[in-house]
Subunit: 441 residues, 2 copies
C-alpha cells in the first residue's frame, strides 16, 4: 500500500496501536530522489512526493541520481532526527525512472541563489524545487477560496470567449490573432461579457481566466498574459459596495491560505493580514492619496518630485502611510478622475468617478468601479472617448433593454500571489510566464 | 429589505409566525419585468431575478416595457395560483432602468421556437431567457463539481499559458498570434504543461481553461474555442486507472447537477445518469467497438457502409448497443491504434495504445490515456511522427530527469453540458461561441 510522506507518522501510530504482534507490515513510498546523504555505511534518501518529503534509510551505498523516480517498500520506524520523527527503513529500492546525472542547476537548492532567468528558462526543472512549487500551491488556494466565497454569496461562475472583435477600451494594447479569413484580438478582460451576464438577470458573476496586455513593459509588476479573477454584481449604489465585498473576499482568501498553506507560508517567511486589519483598511480618495504621498515624501526629506497621478511610487508611499496610521497592509483608493478611467465608468460629477484601486503591500492588485448602466448616458459619453456607437452595438444592447446599477472589479491572481509570499517579481508567480521576450517553455 | 423571488415564501412564513400584529412589513423585490398580464383592473407583473420569478400584483394598468429593471416595495401574501403559492402586493413600482419597447424577439418565449442564429447573434438578449440561461447555471455546477471532486483527491489546480511556441502535435489546427516581433500560437490543450507539473512532484493536477482548434468544421459538435477540463496524474498502471477516476468524477458531477439544478433539468426535460449506471459503464476495445457498430448496422437492416475507425456514427451505434445491453448512457472505448493517437501515447504493443475515449449519450466527451514517461522511448518515437527532438527540448527535459508513469484526460465542458441537457448543438452550451464565421458578440 502506498503511503504519502505526510502520512508516514500516522502509519507509525497505526502500527504501534495495533494488536498484531511480530513483524510490522511493509508500506510503499513513491516519489522523487530529493537528496541523498551517506553516513556510516547507511544512505539517507530524502524522497519527495506531492505531500512532502520522507526520509528513507537504505543499508549501504545507493546509486540514485537526484530527481530519479523511485518506489521503495519498507517498514516505518520512529526516529527523532527525521522529519515528523519518522522514517522508512527500506527493504529495497526500485528505480521507476532514472534521471540523467547532469542537472543544469541544483534543483533542491535555495531558489534565491538561482537567477530568475535560470528559474524561468528551466521551468520544468525549477518547478521541482519545493519552495518554488509552494508558490503554486498557494495560488491554487487563492483561486479556490476566491471561487468558493463568491459562490457562497450567490455568484455564478462563467467562462467567456477570449477572442474578441475589438478592444473594450479602444484598439491599443491588443494582441492580434489570425482567425480564418479575419483578424480578432485576445481579450484584455471579460469586461463587456461580465456586464452582459449581470444584465441578463444572473446579477452576480465571476470568472477566473487568462487576460492579455500587449504592452511593452518589462517590470517586476507586469505580465503580458495573466490570470484575471473577475467579479461583477448588480444593484450596487457605489464603488463602496464593491470595496466592502472585496474586503470580505480578501479576508476569506487570506484565511484559506493561512489554514491550508502553513508550510508554504513558512518556506517563504510570509504571513497574511488578519481579518481585522483587512476590515479596517482605509479608503482614501484619489486626490487625498496624492497629497498623502506628497507629505510622505516631505517627511522623508527626499528630493523626489511631487506626483500628480497614482504611480507605483505613490502606491508604495500610501501603503507605508496606511501601515503606520492604520496598522494594515491594504489601502483602497477611490474617486479616480474621469480622464484616468474607461468610458464605462460611472461618474460622481464632472471630474470624479465611482472607481477604485486596491493597493496591497505597495502594489495595485485590483481595479474596479461602478459602471454606466443608462443607455443614453453611454451614447453621450462615447464620442468624448473617441468611440462610435455603431462599433459597440452588441454592448449597447445590454443597456437599451434594461440594465440595473452594477459594478465589479478584477484581482490579478499573480500579483496577489506575489504579494502574499513577498516575491520580488510577479513572473515568479506565473507557472509559464509570458513577457516581451519570453514565449517558452 | 430586498427579498429574492425564491425567498418570498419563507418571508411569508416568517410574517405568519411572527407575533407582531397589525400591518405586515414591506419587503422589496428587484428585478427584470419578465411578463405582464392584465386581468380585471389588476396587473400581474412577473419579476425575474437571479433566484427565479416572483409574481407582483399592481392595482390598475402598468406601463412597463418587458425587460425594464424595477424595484417594487410591497407586502407578501399567499395566493395558491402564484408561483410557490406566494405573491407581492405592490405599494408602488419604481423603474430603475426602462427598456426600449422594440425587443427584436420574444425574450421570454420558448427558445426552441427561436432560430439558433438569432439566439447566438442576439446573445446579450437571448441569455435573458430563463431556459437559455439555465444552461449556464448547469455549466457552473459542472465546473465547480469537477474542481471540488479533484481537490478532494489531492489534485492541485493550475493555470498555464495559452500562448505557445509550437503545437503539441505538429503545426496543424493552430491559430497564429502576432506577439511583438514574433509569432506564437493559441494552445490546443495544456498537454505538455500538465505532464510537466505531474513530473515536478505535484503528481496530480487539473485545469479548467480555454483551448483552441483552428479547424474548419461547422458541425453541431465542434467549437473553435472551448473550455477544456484537464486532468493529469502520476503513478498509474494503464488507462484503466484513468477510466476508474473519470467514472467517479462524472458521478460526482451528475450528483451535483441533480441536487443543485433540479429546476434547470426540469426546464430542459433532462435527467442525469445514476451513479450505478456510471459505475457499470462498459469498457470496449477499439476493434470491438467497430465490430459492435457493424453488428448494430446489420441488425437495423441499414445499408450503411462498414466503418473502419471510430466515427460520430460509430459512437452513436456503440452507445445504442450499450444502452440496450448495459442499461447506461456512457461507454469507454480503449486501446486505440497507434496511428490514431499522438506521439506521446503509451503503447501496449506494436499496434495498440493505452488510450481511451468516453462516449456519453452518443458523443465523445473525453480523450485520454497513459503517456510515454521514458526519455529514450520518446526519442525513439519522435521521428516516426515527423518530429525532431531539438524542437521539443523543454518537453523532453521533463523525462530526461525522472518522470513517473502517468496519464490523464480532458473533458469538453460544453459537450458535457450539451449532453446533460439534451441540446441539439454544442454552440448552445457556449456563452459566446466562436466558430468559423462567428466572432461576435
Amino acid at each position: 500500500m502506498r503511503v504519502l510522506a505526510k502520512e508516514l507518522k500516522a502509519a507509525l501510530g497505526a502500527i504501534k496501536s495495533s494488536d498484531a504482534a511480530g513483524v510490522p507490515d511493509e508500506v510503499l513510498v513513491k516519489g522523487w530522489v530529493h537528496r541523498v546523504r551517506e553516513l556510516g555505511g547507511i544512505s539517507f534518501v530524502m524522497v519527495r512526493d506531492r505531500s512532502g518529503i520522507a526520509q528513507v534509510v537504505v543499508e549501504g551505498k545507493v546509486d540514485l541520481p537526484l530527481e530519479s523516480v523511485v518506489s521503495i517498500p519498507g517498514v516505518v520506524a520512529a526516529n527523532d532526527k527525521a522529519p515528523d520523527g519518522v522514517e522508512l527503513r527500506a527493504s529495497r529500492v526500485d528505480v521507476i525512472s532514472r534521471a540523467a546525472p547532469d542537472l543544469p542547476f541544483p534543483v533542491n537548492g535555495d531558489p534565491t541563489k538561482i537567477g530568475l532567468d535560470v528559474i524561468l528558462d528551466q521551468r520544468p526543472l525549477s518547478l521541482r524545487n519545493t519552495k518554488i512549487r509552494a508558490i503554486f500551491s498557494v495560488q491554487a488556494t487563492i483561486i479556490d477560496a476566491f471561487s468558493s466565497f463568491l459562490r457562497s454569496r450567490g455568484f455564478t461562475e462563467m467562462k467567456t470567449s477570449k477572442l474578441i472583435g475589438s478592444g473594450t477600451e479602444g484598439g491599443t494594447g491588443l494582441f492580434e490573432v489570425d482567425y480564418f479569413d479575419t483578424k480578432v484580438y485576445l481579450a484584455q478582460s471579460p469586461q463587456f461579457y461580465k456586464q452582459t451576464m449581470v444584465a441578463t438577470g444572473m446579477e452576480r458573476v465571476f470568472e477566473v481566466a487568462p487576460a492579455y496586455r500587449a504592452e511593452k513593459h518589462d517590470t517586476p509588476r507586469h505580465l503580458n498574459e495573466y490570470v484575471s479573477m473577475d467579479v461583477e454584481m448588480a444593484f450596487i449604489d457605489s464603488e463602496r459596495d464593491l470595496i466592502a465585498l472585496e474586503k470580505e473576499l480578501l479576508s476569506s482568501i487570506f484565511e484559506a491560505v493561512s489554514s491550508r498553506n502553513g508550510d508554504e507560508l513558512a518556506a517563504w517567511g510570509a504571513t497574511v493580514p488578519t481579518p481585522e486589519s483587512v476590515a479596517a483598511a482605509p479608503i482614501v480618495a484619489h486626490d487625498e492619496a496624492i497629497a498623502i504621498a506628497a507629505r510622505e515624501v516631505e517627511k522623508s526629506g527626499s528630493s523626489a518630485k511631487k506626483a500628480y497621478e497614482i504611480s507605483p511610487e505613490v502606491e508604495r508611499l500610501v501603503c507605508a502611510w496606511s501601515a503606520r496610521e492604520h496598522g494594515g497592509e491594504l489601502v483602497f483608493i477611490n474617486e479616480f478622475p474621469r480622464r484616468h478611467r474607461p468610458f464605462y465608468t460611472f461618474p460622481i460629477d464632472a471630474s470624479r468617478t465611482m472607481s477604485f484601486d486596491a493597493i496591497f503591500r505597495g502594489l495595485e492588485i485590483t481595479t474596479g468601479g461602478r459602471r454606466h448602466n443608462e443607455y443614453q448616458a453611454l451614447l453621450d459619453v462615447l464620442p468624448k472617448f473617441g468611440l462610435k456607437a455603431e462599433d459597440l452595438t452588441d454592448y449597447l444592447n445590454v443597456f437599451k433593454y434594461g440594465c440595473p446599477p452594477h459594478g465589479g472589479f478584477a484581482i490579478g491572481c499573480e500579483r496577489l500571489t506575489q504579494k502574499i509570499l513577498g516575491l520580488q517579481n510577479v513572473k515568479e508567480a506565473s507557472l509559464f510566464p509570458r513577457d516581451r521576450k519570453r514565449v517558452r517553455p
